[in-house]
Symmetry: C2
Subunit: 385 residues, 2 copies
């Protein structure tokens, strides 16, 4: 086993956003020299990693050249140039998660085909090369309203997803490759994070419950553990493990799922990296997801995924109607409450629904935590000044 703690080793990370920023706390803890590539010279990681480079993550040359300067490559965002990764891998660079996994996960259409091919339960879907084909399908009665439209690529934080109930809902959609899914009524949105290292060691975090903002389609609260039946939780974890096995995945995989009215579990989508649904782990878990990501990609023994206390995460997103220099209203007030920890991502400008930070609430009593979370949500406002 390589001794990462005292070697001249450079970890390369594609993407320098908030996930990279939280990862850096862990690379610093383990003293792992970390180089980061990001499109934006003011990215949240720019000033606090060992080496920062600016370059387009979707550009072959930029990714390839960066990859040649590091000893192991990982990602904090999946929208990166996969051709470059495959070439680097061919030339011997260890890359986790594996490029072939990223190629599948980058496309929601490929993800859906993969689930079907591997008998992983997921909502029925159709796949269209362009919006025009989709419209054609409706006209030919091959597709019925209502349905969920999803852009096959480059969606994030609720962008690229829309519930379509009639023709006018289709009007402003981009003419891109997309999938449509049957609108399935569900009780809960759940997520399970699984870590797996190259040795095949595997650990599953507890099932979390996600409460979404009804309009923005963004997570408002992540609650750990999910307040669901133990049998449902077990089923969710089993399905998450099945996804990891089917992908032969190495790294951290967040599996988002629906719990249907009939307590079926359907996989919605996966993220091959630390995930919003795991931020609670920084304060609540024995091993937080960022440390676990490092352990998994470096083929170190995986850490304990159990929780010390109940944890709830509240996203801090930009208020509607505010754009510009960010101001976090009433945040200090919330620090008066025991177990409240804000994480500010270091983005200078707010925009409606932009993820600017999060707050974790931990408590031995999950109901008390949920109460405080509500208060935090209602009190802190991310505005501009």
């Amino acid at each position: 086993m390589k001794n990462y703690f005292s070697s001249n080793f450079t970890l390369g990370v594609l993407g320098g956003g908030q996930l990279g920023r939280m990862l850096l706390s862990e690379t610093q803890k383990f003293d792992i020299y970390t180089a980061i590539l990001d499109n934006d010279k003011n990215a949240p990681c720019s000033e606090i990693c060992n080496r920062f480079e600016v370059g387009n993550l979707l550009d072959y040359e930029a990714v390839y050249n960066f990859g040649k300067t590091v000893d192991l490559l990982t990602i904090e965002i999946e929208n990166v140039n996969i051709d470059a990764l495959e070439q680097l891998e061919k030339e011997g660079l260890p890359i986790f998660p594996k490029p072939q996994n990223l190629r599948i996960i980058q496309s929601k259409a490929r993800q859906k085909h993969f689930y079907i091919d591997h008998q992983i339960p997921t909502a029925p879907f159709s796949h269209f090369a362009y919006l025009e084909e989709l419209k054609h399908a409706i006209e030919n009665s091959a597709l019925q309203f209502p349905f969920v439209w999803k852009a096959a690529r480059f969606g994030y934080d609720g962008n690229g997803v829309k519930i379509v109930r009639n023709f006018s809902d289709l009007e402003n959609l981009p003419n891109v490759e997309c999938i449509t899914e049957k609108l399935i009524p569900f009780k809960n949105e759940l997520a399970v994070i699984v870590a797996r290292n190259l040795n095949g060691e595997m650990k599953t975090y507890p099932v979390v419950e996600m409460e979404f903002h009804p309009e923005a389609n963004q997570v408002e609260y992540v609650i750990c553990p999910a307040r669901i039946d133990e049998k449902v939780a077990q089923k969710a974890q089993e399905i998450a493990l099945k996804v990891v096995h089917s992908l032969d995945f190495v790294g951290l995989l967040a599996v988002e799922m629906f719990q249907t009215i009939d307590d079926e579990i359907l996989v919605n989508e996966v993220a091959p990296r630390p995930h919003n649904s795991g931020h609670y782990s920084i304060e609540a878990s024995y091993t937080n997801q960022f440390e676990q990501h490092l352990r998994s990609i470096l083929n170190l023994p995986l850490g304990n995924t159990e929780s010390k206390v109940a944890g709830i995460m509240v996203n801090l997103v930009g208020e509607e109607g505010f754009s510009g220099n960010v101001f976090y209203e009433n945040i200090e007030e919330m620090l008066r409450i025991d177990g409240v920890t804000p994480h500010i991502y270091g983005k200078k400008e707010t925009r409606p629904f932009r993820k600017m930070g999060h707050v974790t609430i931990v408590n031995k009593d999950i109901d008390k935590a949920r109460e405080i979370a509500q208060k935090v949500k209602e009190t802190i406002r991310v505005i501009s000044k």
Copy 2:
């Protein structure tokens, strides 16, 4: 209350060692732009703070000029130029801990006089301007063997402290200002960390127990909570609070104490900053000492000092007989054990007894944690390769 979370505010820190490095995790979490001054261009913080400057911390000009570029100044090491701090304070710069407190704490002699003046229990002592005076006192029977010799200034990590049993023990001591203390038999060495902000809000961490290496006079294990009688713990906390009140202290103060054979509490010395005895808090406490330090110096509400789980810290110090490029032997093996987290400080070179990192062990069961801590201590070796 100033909104530090979204302002153009620069926190200045004097010292960029391991304490600064762990503090940076917290300034990053709160997105507080942090500038650091250190003597060493390769200091543990050099690559990971927003702005790093090299300069002699004991030099008036270096400290003064650095102070003029920040909005609030704090320290992670107390051996800094106090004249410069007093001038900066006069010119309006907020500095916490306060320069007048640092002036007292910098000198073990002034500390002792302060305790006596404020009826704070401490071991009887004598104060000598030079070693020669001390020798004179022995010759005149004004001082008896055995005693503890302490350099008045610039001691750290057990340097500058020696048990003197006879004339030959005096031979290699430097001819500097010093104090001697009566050698008092004690049951335990304890420590209490107290946080206080400018509003006067105050919070006390649980009493911890320190087990020392018999030769190096360095802490080997810090155990939280201390396995002592509740009444003794209460007395230790009360005395720590008395020190904080007497100093009118703002910031984080670690108070090291002896529990005597008769269960008296005697103050040994204090540190005006995050302290080795509080490292366990990163994994075990609701609010770790570095976040608490920030909260106290920024006059934010203080966080919950209770523990989620029991925590034990093991220092990783350089093995005797090894100097040069550091290698952490068997560290990965220890990651197999639940609740074990290494913190590596990023120092490239090891030396005998140099603090290179620490490992925290958390567990719901303190005896189990102690068992694991022993194993960690006996397994990991900090050597050179």
